[in-house]
């Protein structure tokens, strides 16, 4: 029987601090090296690894310990392909309604800008471009990942169930990367659940469950994980009666 360690090893604080100065902890390394993976090998992920990933999600913190999530594991290639095809179709329809960059569509610009006000998150410049790329099949939806985890929120949850689903999802992502797997958050499948009854029916999704996001999980091609540079952010820091801003 493999050993399961139920409690963290007791290490004196000073020793811990000295160790931290030598480098990042294993957990920090997983966090800092995690990149979204969009190129997967076709080999399936062993089922026990997916179960382990789900365990990481199960033990995520949630408001009032209400655990307001439902995970759906999708490992059926035919279903993944059908859902992808339907999402591509929907993206194409939506794209035609909003993409004013294509020739002859400049007249749509003011209308689209008005819609952008109303749907500021969906029509942010980044998904705006991504939607067109998905419609043109330049960008895969789950990038041919062999396993997909759909995350649904129980809208009756304490406080902010959407956030709790995000926390559970990130737990799963980090667990997967610590196992050498690649993952990618994919929210673009939402229209399939918003506009197509057949997918809600297929997965048996109805109130109180609401689609939140999904994770592509698979073996990455090459070694996509690694630390990169990115922007620092202004952090307000209040201490000793003073405020400073650190980056």
């Amino acid at each position: 029987m493999p050993e399961i360690q139920r409690k963290p090893k007791k290490v004196p604080r000073q020793e811990r601090i000295e160790r931290l100065k030598q480098g990042f902890t294993e957990t920090e390394q997983v966090i800092l090296q995690r990149r979204s993976v969009r190129l997967y090998k076709p080999d399936q992920v062993p089922a026990f690894m997916v179960r382990r990933i789900l365990e990481a999600g199960r033990f995520a913190p949630s408001a009032g310990n209400c655990q307001p999530w439902k995970f759906v594991v999708l490992r059926d290639e035919k279903v993944i392909t059908a859902l992808t095809d339907d999402t591509v179709k929907l993206c194409d329809i939506l794209r035609n309604m909003v993409d004013y960059r294509k020739p002859g569509a400049a007249w749509m610009k003011p209308m689209v800008k008005f819609n952008t006000r109303i749907r500021k998150n969906d029509l942010h410049p980044v998904p705006f471009g991504a939607m067109a790329m998905i419609a043109d099949r330049k960008l895969g939806l789950w990038h041919k990942a062999p396993t997909v985890i759909l995350i649904f929120a129980d809208v009756r949850g304490v406080s902010c169930p959407e956030l709790d689903c995000g926390i559970a999802g990130q737990n799963m992502v980090l667990a997967a990367h610590s196992m050498g797997l690649g993952t990618c958050w994919v929210g673009f499948v939402r229209p399939a659940f918003d506009y197509m009854l057949r997918w809600k029916k297929f997965f048996g999704i109805s109130y109180p469950y609401k689609f939140m996001s999904s994770l592509a999980v698979g073996w990455p091609v090459g070694e996509p994980d690694g630390m990169v540079e990115r922007q620092t952010h202004a952090v307000d820091w209040y201490e000793d009666g003073l405020k400073k801003v650190v980056y």
Partner: protein, 107 residues
């Protein structure tokens, strides 16, 4: 503190105008590059063209959002991250600082 002026609040940037939307940008150190094409294969924004050597596609064909996947996937550390995606007006970034790798603070 007011983060967005009234003009910024009401103006949605045009996505086809480089003055209102600066895309991300990476550069390639051709001395380190082994011409494997991995950067172009992993790029989610289809922003990197590869014809024997990698190069950034011109605006607005590419969709670089500065995710760094190319830099992480590059086996030779040949990708230099230069410019984050910056939309202006309503979507302008607030409080972003310099571009830095993960820092190991020890003090």
């Amino acid at each position: 503190m007011r983060y967005l002026s009234l003009k910024e609040f009401f103006k949605i940037p045009a996505y086809d105008d480089p003055a209102e939307l600066t895309l991300g940008e990476v550069a390639f150190d051709m001395e380190k590059c082994s011409r494997c094409g991995m950067c172009a294969r992993v790029c989610p924004g289809a922003a990197i063209a590869f014809d024997g050597r990698p190069s950034m596609k011109p605006f607005p064909e590419n969709q670089c959002m500065f995710c760094g996947c190319c830099a992480a996937a590059c086996p030779n550390d040949a990708v230099i991250m230069k410019q984050p995606l910056v939309a202006r007006f309503y979507y302008k970034p607030i409080g972003h600082g310099e571009i830095k790798p993960p820092r190991l603070f020890t003090e």
